[in-house]
Structures are given as C-alpha cells and as structure tokens.
C-alpha cells in the first residue's frame, strides 16, 4: 500500500522542505500549457511515448524537424500538475532548438526555467525530457531507415 494514498494522513515527504505550492510560472503552464496537441503521421518526424512507472503519469510527444531544428513540437500528457507544467515548459524550451541542443536539455533546465517546483514533484520533469529523447531517437531511427535524410 502507498503511504501517500490518502491526503488525510499527510504526505510531506520532503518536509521540512518547500511546501506543496506552485509558483506562478508553473501555474501558468498548468493552466495554459504550450504546444498541447498531436502532430499527424504526415507532420511528425519523431514520436515518443513514455510513462512514469512511479506514479502512472504518461506523456506523448511529437516533433517535426526542419534543417536539424525542432520546427514543431506537440504533446499530450496525463498526469499531475507537475507533469503537465514540466511537459509544457519542455516543449517551449525545445521548440526551435537544434537536435543537439534539444538532446542536451536536462530535467534541471526544465525546473530552472519554471523557476523551481516542489521537491517531490521534481521527478515529473524527467517525463518530458525522456519523451523528447524518445522522439529524437525515433526521428534518428526513421532517418537511418529511410536512408534519405529529409
């Protein structure tokens, strides 16, 4: 059983660290996430799907690559506010970046760009980073498979 399954009984594992309270940037990305949506099979050059085995969160991410840069990016995310906000911020960071730059985006970058996130939500940002890497992997696989770089 999960100790966390009942909010009655409290869950501040990170105590006495920061309280579970999101800053305005995080709240903005939660309420108005950037790049929500899907790219059609026609549009997408890479696709990543990752799940967080820890908490059941899930993220799908699509990229369209033009001239080695991420021209378009879209995501759908099932998960907690941390998952949604970090997913959104990740796509905002990745958009327009070169593949190499995009690959180098870390979960810390995402958290920093959001101006911080509660300690116990930090793992959420891994989801987006891993989804992006999965999509880039997919893009590379497809590139080698088609043998003809677009």
């Amino acid at each position: 059983m999960a100790n966390e399954s009942d909010p009655d009984a409290g869950s501040l594992e990170g105590m006495p660290g920061p309280v579970l309270f999101y800053n305005d940037v995080v709240l903005d990305h939660f309420l108005n996430p950037r790049n929500v949506g899907e790219l059609s099979a026609m549009e997408a050059d890479g696709y990543g799907l990752v799940g967080d085995p820890l908490c059941g969160d899930q993220m799908k991410l699509w990229i369209a690559v033009r001239e080695g840069r991420i021209a378009r990016i879209a995501f759908k995310s099932f998960g907690c506010p941390g998952a949604i906000a970090t997913s959104s911020m990740l796509t905002a960071l990745a958009e327009g970046k070169t593949i190499t730059e995009a690959r180098n985006i870390t979960d810390d970058d995402v958290v920093a760009a959001l101006g911080g996130i509660p300690e116990k939500k930090k793992h959420c940002s891994l989801l987006g980073v891993r989804a992006l890497q999965a999509a880039i992997d997919d893009w590379e696989r497809r590139r080698h498979a088609s043998a003809e770089p677009r």
């Binding site: 399954s5 929500v36 820890l54 099932f78 907690c80």
Partner: protein, 386 residues
C-alpha cells in the same frame, strides 16, 4: 473559498472555541496537580469525559483521551495485540483501512504478528464470509473501520461485532469518519474499542478519544505517568479535551438532521456531475455511505490536476490518490474495489460539511466540468470527451 474536504479536517465550531478559551487563559492548571487550581482543570476533563460518554452511550470510565485519531487507532490495535500476545498473534483487518490502522498492522507484522487483510466488494464493503473464514484460534483482534475516509462506505460493523463476539474475539472499529455524521450510538455498535477524533467533527486538532469497553485488556502505547488510568501517559490537553466534548455534543445532537441535509446535497451533487461530465464513476454509490462523502473518478484526467484546477477556482477538494512523493501509488482503497490504476489516479474525494450550501455544490459542478474538460484536452489517455 468553497471547502469540500471535511473528511480531511473541519473548522473549529465557535462553541468549541468558546468552551476552550477559559482553559487557554485562566484555568491553565495541570489536572494532576494536588491543589484546587489543578482540581478545576481535572473537573473540566472529567466533565468532558462524561459528556463524550453521554454522546456515544458509554460509561465515562470507558473513554480514554489521547492526541489524535491516529493515536487512538495505535492504542487500540497495538494495545490489544500486545495485551493478548500470549493468547495469540493473529489480527484481522481490511484492505481499505486508514494508514493509522494499516501501518500499525504492518509494524506488528514486523514484530511477529500475523495479519489478514480482508478484501472488499466492488462497492467497497468488507467481505463477511472472508472474515468468518479468516478467524482462528490465534485471532485476538478484528479491526475494521466504521466508514471509509475515501469513499464514505459504511461497513457492517454490527454484524462484524456479532461474528467476533461469537468467537470471543475483540473488535475495534475506527469511527473517525462516522462520529458525529451517523446518528448511531458508537458504544452500542457492539465493538469493544472505538476510535474517533476531534478535528473531524468540528473540534480542535490534537485530541481524540478511544472508547474501551469495561474489562477490555489493553496496554498503553504511551508509557509514563498514570494519566488516563495509566493507559495514556502525558499531561492532559485540557483546552482541547473541553473543546472536543463541546464539538462532539453538537455534532452528535445534530447528526440525524444534518445527515439528511448533507445526503440530499451530496446526491444532488452526484446527479449534477453525472449529467455534466461523461465518464464519471462514483465509488461505493450503491453501498450505504456516510452522508457527506463522494468519491469520483474521471477517466483520462489526473486527480491531483483536478484538485489544483479546482483550487485555482477557489474550491478545496482532495485526491483519492496522490502522485506526490515519487513512491506514490494509486489509492489502495480504490484498487481494492477493483478500479484500474488509471481510474484510481483520476479520482477525487468531495466531502461536504456544515457550511455547505446548494450554491457551493452548483459552483463546484461547473468548475469540475470545466477542469475535467481542459485536462482531457491535454491528456494522452483516452477519456470521455463529453
């Protein structure tokens, strides 16, 4: 703010606070002190004990005060298990208990006890046949909650009490979520031990009671002085005890009428949600429930995100599960009722209370419909799009 999380905690009733004030200001003596100023505090504690006893239909001597529902549960479960260690080391509980009972059972397992965790039906009701089958010569205690804090589903504790009694086995019930909500005499349920907590019935935080039927074997969890007949050491929290008694008196007196009012509001809330949002599942809806609680699962939306969405709209509800510490898993209660992990993850708990009005319900349904729609739009998991 619309507060719909009364199963987590409740505001302090103004009458309870008023009852506490003299003990925070003037009558601050130690009830164990041997002079009149101490006796005044002692008298207040004993009057509170008598009032609580009156409210639940017990003798005053059958009420022990302690500092939380958690402590009452610890004292009941550990106290009986340790008192009867030489008689047997088997405990029976359910898959849906609060952590205060569950983790105490787990701790006892680590110390050599054997524990059976009874399954529940899809409606969240403990399986009585499984209970009968689990009892053996080694069984010293059955501990099954009166109602679930997550779903509000009321367990057949009278029948459980009868089954345990026939076998000569002690029975504890955690009534933290029913005390002051159901118009029943807790001491008449047939249980040998009953826990209930102040801050869940408009009393102060930091105080709770354990009803212990006269003659029940029990050893203290908190050792030290001889307060509470040697069964719970530590200087009594006089003000909190007095406030608890006042709040309990009000809550028990109003339970029947307030219960009818809340059940009507809750039922209307659920009907409105079902009408406004597709893909809703209400857990335990067909079972008897405490009147104020509703456990809702929304396919394709995460409970914590719903909670935050509502919070930003000024509405307080809680999750049925929480993805919060990295080791979080979906609610064990909802999983035990057969929900999938995703369903459990998409759950929230709405629990009404004394200040809840129809307008609060309506506003909540509107905000809920909006939030769920927005989250489903973002979601990578198929939900209903209604």
């Amino acid at each position: 703010m619309i507060y719909l999380d009364h199963n987590a905690t409740t505001p302090l009733h103004p009458r309870a606070l008023a009852a506490m004030e003299p003990f925070l200001r003037e009558c601050w003596g130690n009830p164990s002190s041997p002079y009149r100023f101490g006796s005044e505090a002692r008298a207040a504690v004993e009057l509170a004990r008598a009032r609580i006893a009156g409210a639940i239909g017990s003798e005053p001597a059958e009420i022990l005060f302690c500092a939380s529902g958690t402590e009452a549960d610890n004292l009941a479960v550990r106290g009986v298990a340790c008192a009867l260690r030489s008689c047997g080391k088997h405990l029976v509980t359910s898959a849906i208990e609060h952590q205060a009972v569950w983790n105490t059972c787990r701790a006892l397992e680590a110390e050599g006890h054997r524990v059976t965790y009874l399954p529940v039906s899809p409606d969240g009701v403990v399986d009585l046949e499984a209970l009968e089958a689990s009892l053996g010569a080694e069984t010293v205690l059955v501990t099954i909650m009166h109602a679930s804090n997550e779903t509000g589903v009321v367990q057949p504790v009278e029948e459980i009490a009868a089954i345990a009694r026939r076998r000569g086995i002690l029975f504890h019930t955690d009534a933290v979520q029913t005390a002051g909500k159901l118009p029943v005499q807790l001491a008449a349920l047939g249980a040998d031990l009953v826990s209930f907590s102040g801050h869940k019935l408009y009393g102060p935080k930091g105080v709770a009671a354990l009803y212990v039927r006269a003659g029940t074997p029990l050893v203290p969890v908190m050792t030290g002085g001889t307060q509470e007949r040697g069964l719970r050491a530590g200087t009594e929290n006089v003000a909190a005890i007095v406030g608890f008694a006042e709040a309990a008196a009000v809550a028990f007196a109003e339970a029947a009428a307030e219960g009818r009012r809340l059940a009507a509001l809750r039922d209307r809330f659920e009907a409105e949600v079902v009408a406004a949002v597709a893909g809703v599942r209400i857990s335990g809806a067909r079972a008897p429930r405490v009147p104020n609680t509703s456990s809702l699962s929304f396919a394709g939306a995460d409970g914590e995100s719903i909670v935050l969405g509502l919070d930003l709209a000024g509405i307080c509800v809680s999750t049925g599960s929480a993805c919060s510490t990295g080791d979080a898993a979906p609610s064990h209660v909802l999983l035990a009722m057969g929900l999938s992990a995703h369903e459990a993850q998409g759950s929230i708990r709405v629990s009404l209370g004394r200040d809840t009005r129809q307008a609060d319900i309506d506003a909540t349904v509107r905000a809920l419909a909006e939030t769920v729609a927005r989250l489903r739009h973002i979601s990578s998991v198929r939900g209903e799009t209604g």
